[in-house]
């Protein structure tokens, strides 16, 4: 066999194909991703470093340089001393207002929307499609159109400028998209489960609480994330339907940052902004995994 040695030198392909780590494909792929990530994170970096600097250091003008002397004073000031108009008790008041607005709004809107979605998906009552169409139609109307009528409505209800009024507004505006979310999720749950539960003697609420809800935790997580971020970040409704004592954190943040008197305290402004953004961020990190699962749940039947 003359070419035996040749085949021995040259190994036959076997197992996984070897791949170069620094191939052109990888360089382009990772290069692009890293570039985009940095581009996106730079503003956040600037905010964090600025919030940790003292004013003299900021006046030097190097916004990208890390703080020479790390100080948390801007954070403390933003939380408890920053002034909006005559009040100088910082963002803390706005924070607690936001908490008082967000928790009931999220709870009420999700409770109602999930029951809506459940009824629309499983109990096909007469006119269900019409109700659904009307509800979804609401999602396409710009909010701004409804602002003034709602002011009048709240005034007549005696809720204008009060927290319950704002909670009502958030609940109403969350309804179309949340109902759609829940209805679509519930329709992916096999109909036979629903039928089996009916044969087993569970009623409307029994099926909802004992069968549907335990099977839908991911979509509840999605709804909570959507609502908490949406309501916490809301500025427009907060500024329109409340008065200064009840302003949510976002409105207060705006008033601190945009106040025209005195020196612009960039470090305090940055710290205040970061503080305001912490809650949605925390929610995202806590529920991130569930969130992705819930988003993907509609796609795969199982």
């Amino acid at each position: 066999m003359p070419n035996l040695s040749a085949t021995q030198n040259h190994e036959d392909p076997r197992g996984p194909k070897p791949r170069k780590i620094l191939s052109r494909r990888n360089i382009i792929l990772y290069g692009t991703l890293i570039f985009v990530a940095i581009y996106y994170l730079i503003p956040l970096y600037v905010m964090i470093v600025t919030s940790l600097k003292g004013m003299p250091e900021i006046r030097l003008g190097n916004i990208f340089s890390p703080p020479i002397e790390v100080t948390f004073e801007p954070w403390v000031k933003a939380w408890s001393q920053a002034c909006t108009g005559l009040n100088c008790d910082g963002l803390s008041r706005g924070f607690w207002n936001s908490v008082k607005i967000t928790i009931p709004s999220v709870f009420v809107s999700i409770a109602i929307a999930s029951i809506n979605g459940y009824a629309l998906a499983n109990w096909r009552f007469k006119g269900a499609n019409l109700f659904f169409t009307i509800l979804i139609f609401g999602a396409f109307i710009p909010y701004q159109i409804m602002i003034y009528p709602l002011v009048i409505l709240l005034r007549d209800l005696g809720l204008y400028t009060k927290l319950p009024g704002l909670i009502l507004i958030h609940t109403i505006f969350g309804m179309p998209i949340l109902t759609l979310l829940f209805r679509n999720y519930f329709t992916t749950i096999p109909e036979e489960l629903f039928k089996a539960a009916r044969v087993d003697g569970a009623g409307f609420w029994g099926i909802y609480f004992r069968i549907m809800m335990p099977m839908s935790l991911p979509i509840f997580a999605v709804a909570i994330v959507l609502q908490v971020t949406g309501i916490w970040n809301d500025f427009l409704f907060g500024v329109i339907y409340t008065k200064p004592a009840n302003y949510p954190m976002t409105v207060q943040l705006n008033n601190i940052v945009n106040s025209v008197q005195g020196v612009k305290e960039y470090n305090v402004n940055m710290a205040a902004t970061l503080l305001t953004g912490l809650v949605p961020l925390a929610i995202y990190f806590i529920s991130g995994k569930l969130f992705v699962r819930g988003i993907a749940a509609g796609a795969v039947k199982g």
Binding site: L193, R198, V199, D200, G201
Partner: protein, 364 residues
């Protein structure tokens, strides 16, 4: 006493008529199979009996009580679904006891019934598991158990074995039959599988387009199908249909389209009414009632064929052939040596054939 009585039941989905003026009486302890192709209304009928669908017209009686307006849980039925429909977040025990908790039974009673059902179905070891940790067969057992614990008169099965593989299906089929023999409940079983229907049923109702075509015991349906559709549906491999005409001389003579050297005499066949004029017909012969070899000479009709394709199936071999340009299949013993191209003499007895009118396909 009648267990279930359905009177003039109709159901429409909007414009679509699914069930029309349907009447059905099922005796206590009977095993009735609703058989038909998909879309024939068999599952719909079962859902109407269960109360999961509102009927458009008509009445449903269970145990002599008019249940037309009652909720599914108040009808005294248990139901087993094709997809098992187990509650994924509950354990097997939770699944079994769910209905009992809804009915607010005492703890002892619930435990007793769950214990009893799990013994019958041999799922005692699985009680603490979640459905996801069960195999297909075990899941279906739990699903049957869920109907069993309710201690009901009537069991409804909606294609319970369709999601299982072939081996498990035959195993569970026998178990369902055993269960029926042990419990003696009324059972209604929906399937599109004619073998399940033949093996399980006391009576089979063959459905098509929302109507029951034939309601009889399996033997009658197999031997005397009332029309060509039923004849095609029951039996595997399917019946042969030879197109031709009957010439009513002193004896009814069959004339095959495409020719036949002899003129087979059909006088053994029991006609519903005697044939007076020349009539176009389908002559239906089951592959398994065709005789080969030594038995041929005892048969009133015999002829020879050329073998075209053979399908050995172990015990038997199915032979494909042609007569007068029309397809003709017959069974030979699995040990018989047949080769493609052989000429084989076969015969049949018209008494075991089925003859259908060519135009309306009804039995003659």
């Amino acid at each position: 006493m009648n267990s279930i009585e359905i009177k003039k039941l109709s159901l429409n989905f909007g414009e679509v008529v699914v069930l029309k003026d349907l009447n059905l009486t099922i005796e206590k302890g009977e095993f009735l199979v609703l058989l038909g192709a998909s879309g024939c209304g068999k599952s719909t009928l079962l859902n109407c009996i269960a109360g999961l669908l509102d009927v458009t017209d008509g009445q449903v009686f269970i145990n002599g009580q008019n249940v037309t307006w009652l909720e599914p849980s108040e009808r005294g039925i248990g139901m087993v679904f094709q997809s098992y429909a187990l509650y994924p977040q509950m354990t097997v025990e939770g699944n079994l006891s769910f209905s009992l908790k809804n009915a607010k039974l005492s703890k002892d009673e619930i435990e007793k019934r769950v214990q009893n059902a799990s013994e019958i179905l041999q799922i005692e070891d699985l009680l603490k598991r979640k459905p996801a940790a069960l195999s297909g067969g075990q899941r279906q057992r739990v699903a049957i158990g869920r109907a069993l614990v309710r201690d009901v008169e009537v069991f409804l099965f909606d294609e319970p074995l369709s999601n299982l593989d072939a081996k498990l299906r035959t195993d569970l089929r026998v178990e369902i039959k055993r269960l029926h023999q042990k419990l003696d409940n009324t059972m209604i079983y929906v399937t599109h599988d004619q073998i399940e229907a033949m093996t399980l049923a006391n009576r089979i109702a063959i459905m098509r387009d929302g109507l029951i075509l034939q309601l009889d015991d399996p033997k009658t349906i197999y031997n005397f199908p009332i029309n060509k559709y039923v004849a095609e549906f029951i039996g595997s491999p399917g019946m042969n249909f030879l197109k031709g005409a009957i010439l009513p001389n002193d004896k009814p003579i069959f004339k095959l389209d495409g020719g036949w050297c002899e003129s087979p005499d059909l006088s053994n066949y029991k006609f519903q009414e005697s044939i007076k004029t020349e009539t176009q017909i389908w002559l239906g012969i089951r592959p398994e009632s065709v005789a080969v070899g030594g038995e041929v000479k005892n048969m009133p009709v015999n002829f020879s064929l050329e073998v075209e394709v053979i399908e050995p199936m172990g015990a038997d071999t199915l032979v494909w052939s042609q007569i007068g340009g029309q397809e003709f299949r017959f069974m030979v013993d699995g040990n018989t040596l047949v080769n493609v191209g052989d000429r084989v003499t076969v015969g049949f007895d018209p008494a075991h054939a089925s003859i259908f009118d060519f135009d309306n396909e009804e039995r003659l």
